[in-house]
Amino acid sequence: MSWPCCRRSRGVDVGHLTDAAIALGPLLEEAARPDRGGVTTFLGLVRNHQDGRTVLRLEYSAYLPMAEAETDRIIAEAAARWPARVVVRHRVGALVIGDIAVAVVAAAAHRAEAFEACRYVIEELKRRVPVWKKEFYADGTIEWVDPTARPARVERT
C-alpha cells in the first residue's frame, strides 16, 4: 500500500517522516525560542558498516500513518514529563552513507531537561515507531535489518 509521504496536517509542516534530506537548521529554528536556552540534538547518521560488513546504501520504509501517530504520542509523553519542545524528523526512502537518518531536537530552559527529553524520544522512537531498514552491502547482498537478532552491544546503536 502507499500513503502520501508525508503528512501535511500541521500547516506547512511535513510531518515527522520525510522523504527529503533532513537539514538541521530549520529543526533548530522550529524547536528553539528565546526562553529555551538549552538545546540537545541527536542525529542518527547512516554508517558505512554494520556488524563488520560494509554498507553502501540503505532504504528506510515505514508504516507511515502509524509512524506519524506513534511519534506524536512519544513527543506528547516527553512534553508531559519535561518542559521541553521536541522536534523529530525521520527519513524514508533511499539514503547514502553520511545522510541524516533521524534527527531529534529538544529545547528547554535547562539543559538537564533538554538532554533527558531528547534521549527519551530517540529511545522510544527506536523501540516503538514502525520503520524498517534495508541495507545494501558491498558484497552484493541485501538485508532487512533485524536489531533483535544482534548482540546487545550492537542493538543499542
Binding site: 500500500m1 542518527g44 528506510y60 520504509s61 515505514a62 508504516y63 500513518p65 502509524m66 509512524a67 501517530a69 506513534e70 525521520h90 537518518a101 533521524v102 530517540i122 522512537l125 527506536k126 523501540r127 516503538r128 515507531v129 514502525p130 520503520v131 524498517w132 531498514k133 534495508k134 532487512w144 535489518v145 533485524d146 536489531p147 533483535t148 537478532a149
Partner: protein, 81 residues
C-alpha cells in the same frame, strides 16, 4: 467480518503480499487473525509465532480484540533511527 491485514518489510517479502483482506468470524483476537492468515496465505507460514502487531495504528498484543473493519498490521522487528 472483514479485517484488513497489512504486512511490512521482511513480512511482506515473505508473504508476497502487502494487503490482505480476511473474512473472519466475530469476535476475534489478533492471534486468531494471525492463525487464519497463515492458513489463507502460503508465504505467511514463515511469519513468527508472536510478531509485533498493531491494531488501527496502535501497538497491540496477540490477545487484543479485533473488530469489524479494523486494520491489523504485522510489524517485523523495528529498525528506525
Amino acid at each position: 467480518m472483514p479485517v484488513r491485514v497489512l504486512l511490512f518489510a521482511a513480512y511482506r517479502d515473505a508473504a508476497g503480499r502487502e494487503v490482505i483482506d480476511l473474512p473472519l468470524p466475530a469476535p476475534a483476537t489478533v492471534a486468531e487473525v494471525l492463525r487464519q492468515l497463515k492458513l489463507a496465505v502460503p508465504g505467511a507460514g514463515a511469519l513468527p509465532e508472536r510478531p509485533l502487531v498493531a491494531v488501527n495504528q496502535v501497538h497491540a498484543r496477540l490477545e487484543s480484540p479485533v473488530a469489524d473493519g479494523d486494520e491489523l498490521a504485522l510489524l517485523p522487528p523495528l529498525a528506525g533511527g
